[in-house]
């Protein structure tokens, strides 16, 4: 990416932060908090998710057979099924069916995907969106910014001035109530007059030809009931085998999306329905002659089904939990974090599949891989993995010359032409090794104004961001000189402390503290020389390099595992590599061996204390107030409580943050195009640690990025929690 491209991207993000950010943030957080509350009430949440996923896996596997079955079922009911290859094919068919008549539509992202409104209007039909948010966008001539709440970026005040300007009502509209009443009446007349009702479908059952529509307003019901012809458009992936299969989705979709236990209406229509229609003479007409057309849309989906990495996208039920739980989405919304149609975490998969990689490329880098969406997805899609794979494909699609500037820094497995910035951050291990070898000179050069300007211009490292300061002596070198202090015979356990690149070369103090804390608890520690985990290249979409890093790490740690020692990891994002991502990068046996023997540092301390280690060997917190920020990947792994428990057991008074992510997210916060978004997200965390209740507390954070971000945004200097337990 050129300097100008970066500047343009930064400008666009700044504009959206200023104009849409507040509305998006307020609204997505209501959904997000609602989801946490509503899913906590489910006794069998995990089992329900497993069931939902199994149904989708099975349905996508058997998709061609289900298309045949639903065709039989719908035709037996008296309706028609049309399988459309692509958007043009679907629009041609729908336009023929509509034949210039007036159409009322309920919300459907699939219809946005094919842009059917434009095609119908070109053929002379009037088309009205009856979902209130879609209606607002239709009046404003804007695209959706969220897959469930398409006008989430608009405030009530903006909608009021839009309506007052366009419709010029007798009394200016102001309250949400007035706006809703106005839209209801305005659209009510359109519904009365229209002859065609168009809907999407959240699910379609192959056995009976039943459409499940998940809504709250009632407009979809009206669109179907009032009109003589019902046209439903749905991606082929919406098929499930039977009516019974709808049950887990009905219980999960509202909770996952807007945080409601269930939406006002889940309509199960087996069309054509015989509810009375609105005839022209003022009487209710007979619904017996209602026509029904189900348009099943391929538009790239059958190819996605054959694609081992994109296939999971087809399990998506478009609930928006991945968008709502994403810190970046919360701050900038779908007009930045989305492609032609779809927005939020899973949008990369959809856009890559239906519109192509170019559409996905525009926003793909906004996924930082923080993984907060992973546990929120009701069908357990590994969304960060899809984002990484697509990033890798985008990287590989580019042509260009390997730049001489970073050639020495990039002993990687990637194709020539890969973006220089990605290559720099992806090879952080090499950079850190050199930085350490030439410290303090390297730190001095990197901080010089000339150095910063060069870095900003060539690789887009934002000059407003403080750079890490490399230590001359690495943690591994320090430990080699010092040696272990607990003899194997007296040791409670033996561990290999994994020296991640940051701990090894930059934040050596937390590594030394970790060694001393473990030794105080009678653990014999070794610090083997093991390279970077692969997190750095992985986050840049450099999957081949990540795999080669993972293999080296495994080779370095395998002897310890074979000897029955435990692996202790300080950096949560590296532990997440071992426990999650290595499944994709290492042979299965190696992955399982490493996963089963690896522990996060404070998780391990917790385990030691639970199993009889002498807690009094560690300092007494004596009621000291602590404000603790866990780490996004650590929270996804369920490892926040252990740190809190250990600190509380030692007498610290702990309060925690609840933002999804700090916004720094590895290299993300250093990139000049994303710097302002990173700081905007970080401010939400800083706000939580500068309240009356938290302003005087000692700030601790588990992750490197979190520490860097908090350091930049707070006047207090944050530290890793293990430093509070350091016996030194």
């Amino acid at each position: 990416m050129s300097v100008d491209d970066r500047r343009r991207k930064a400008e666009r993000i700044r504009h959206l932060l200023d104009t849409e950010g507040d509305s998006v943030q307020g609204n997505t957080q209501v959904f997000n908090e609602g989801r946490y509350e509503s899913t906590a009430d489910l006794e069998d949440y995990e089992a329900l998710k497993d069931e939902a996923r199994a149904i989708k896996e099975d349905a996508i596997e058997r998709l061609p057979e289900l298309v045949d079955r639903v065709t039989e079922a719908v035709e037996a009911n008296g309706g028609t099924v049309y399988v459309a290859d692509d958007a043009a094919d679907a629009n041609r068919y729908v336009t023929e069916v509509v034949d210039g008549r007036d159409v009322v539509k309920s919300k459907s992202m699939t219809s946005e995907e094919i842009e059917v409104n434009g095609a119908l209007e070109a053929s002379g039909a009037d088309v009205w969106e009856t979902d209130l948010a879609e209606f607002v966008l239709q009046v404003a001539d804007e695209a959706p910014s969220h897959i469930v709440a398409p006008a989430i970026h608009k405030s009530r005040e903006e909608i009021a001035s839009l309506f007052n300007e366009v419709f010029d009502p007798d009394e200016p509209l102001e309250t949400a109530e007035e706006l809703t009443r106005f839209a209801r009446e305005h659209l009510g007349e359109r519904i009365l007059d229209a002859e065609v009702g168009m809907t999407g479908a959240n699910f379609v059952t192959a056995d009976t030809g039943t459409l499940a529509l998940v809504t709250s307003e009632g407009n979809a019901r009206k669109c179907v009931q009032a009109t003589d012809t019902h046209v439903a458009v749905a991606g082929v992936e919406k098929l499930v085998p039977s009516v019974e299969d709808l049950q887990p989705f009905v219980e999960l979709i509202g909770r996952s999306g807007t945080g409601q236990d269930i939406t006002s209406y889940v309509s199960l229509f087996t069309p054509p329905g015989d509810s009375p229609t609105f005839g022209g003479d003022g009487d209710l007409g007979s619904g017996d002659d209602r026509e029904f057309h189900l348009v099943l849309i391929d538009n790239g989906r059958m190819e996605m089904r054959e694609d081992d990495d994109l296939r999971e996208t087809l399990y998506c039920i478009r609930c928006s939990a991945c968008a709502n739980s994403c810190a970046n989405f919360q701050h900038v919304g779908g007009h930045a974090f989305g492609g032609e149609t779809y927005s939020g975490g899973i949008a990369t998969g959809w856009e890559a599949g239906v519109h192509g990689e170019d559409s996905a490329a525009e926003f793909n880098d906004l996924c930082t891989g923080c993984s907060r969406c992973v546990n929120q997805c009701p069908v357990k899609i590994d969304i960060p993995w899809i984002n990484t794979v697509v990033r890798d494909r985008i990287n590989r699609g580019k042509n260009g010359n390997l730049d001489f500037l970073v050639e020495g820094l990039t002993p990687d497995e990637e194709p020539g032409g890969l973006d220089l910035q990605k290559r720099l951050f992806g090879n952080f291990d090499t950079l850190a090794k050199l930085g350490s070898a030439f410290a303090p000179l390297s730190n001095w050069v990197a901080r010089s104004s000339v150095g910063r300007t060069v870095m900003e211009r060539t690789v887009g490292v934002d000059s407003r961001r403080e750079l890490p300061s490399f230590e001359r002596e690495s943690l591994v070198e320090w430990f080699e000189d010092r040696g272990p202090r607990v003899s194997p015979d007296e040791a409670r356990r033996q561990v290999a402390l994994y020296p991640d690149a940051y701990t090894n070369y930059v934040r050596t103090e937390r590594g030394k503290a970790a060694v001393r804390v473990l030794e105080a608890l009678d653990v014999r520690v070794d610090v083997p020389a093991a390279g970077e985990s692969g997190r750095a290249p992985f986050s840049q979409g450099m999957v081949a390099t990540a795999r080669s890093n993972a293999e080296s790490v495994y080779d370095a740690l395998a002897p310890a595992v074979a000897a029955g020692h435990d692996i202790v990891v300080i950096e949560p994002s590296d532990l997440a590599m071992f426990r999650r991502e290595y499944e994709r990068l290492l042979p299965e046996d190696d992955y399982v061996a490493l996963r089963d023997h690896s522990y996060e540092l404070m998780e391990y301390v917790y385990g030691l204390l639970e199993n009889g280690a002498d807690a009094d060997a560690l300092p007494d917190g004596d009621g000291q107030g602590v404000a603790y920020h866990s780490h996004c990947q650590q929270r996804t792994l369920g490892l926040e409580p252990q740190t809190v428990a250990v600190l509380e057991a030692r007498g610290f008074d702990v309060t925690t943050s609840d933002v999804e992510c700090c916004g720094m997210a590895g290299s993300f916060g250093y990139k000049s195009e994303y710097y302002e978004l990173s700081v905007d997200v970080g401010e939400s965390l800083a706000d939580q640690f500068t309240t009356d209740e938290t302003a005087d507390r000692t700030v601790v954070a588990s992750g490197t990025s979190c520490l860097e971000q908090l350091d930049a945004l707070l006047s207090r200097r944050p530290a890793h929690p293990v430093r509070l337990l350091d016996t030194r």
Binding site: N27, N77, T130, D131, L132, A133, V136, A149, A151, R156, I159, A176, E177, L179, T180, A183, R184, L187, G188, L192, D207, T208, T210, S216, E217, G218, N219, R221, K222, Q225, S242, V243, E244, L246, Q247, V250, T258, D261, I262, T263, S264, Y265, V266, S267, L268, F269, T270, P271, P272, G273, D274, S275, P276, F278, G282, D283, L284, S286, G287, D288
Partner: protein, 168 residues
Amino acid sequence: MSTEPLASFESSLDEVGVELVRTTADRFESALAPLVSTPAVGASLPFEDVSLPDAVETDPTVAELDAADTGVTAAGYGIADYGSVVIQGGADGEEPVSLYADEHVAVVAASDVLPDMDAAFDRLAEDIRGGTGQAIIATGPSATADMGALVKGAHGPMDVTVVLVEDR
């Protein structure tokens, strides 16, 4: 049937802002009267010895439907866990009657209150395969937050009341 689903039905309805009125067939008319404000529309009820008062128009014009304060229909069953009623039916006008009036009164037999979504989907699947073309799982009033705050009655009713007939 055990009283447990009924108690849970009542508390779930309360959570979604729906009043539950318990009655029996012989007291149905007096129980319904205070819930019906005219003009009112309705779809005939399928319960023996239970019928709608004359004030309720069961064959409305479009204008009468649009102007109605109250719409009364039967519900095929209730789902206790969620406080939902399932609105079935077709040609008799259950759908427009339950959708256009400001207030929807849903009449459900106590014996048709099912404990949870699992039980409801067993029944739904059976009904759909048996030819029921439409089943709306309706929970509370119509609502939207699209205009900047939660508003009831976005397109459908802004109030819902459930009348439970206990000797069925």
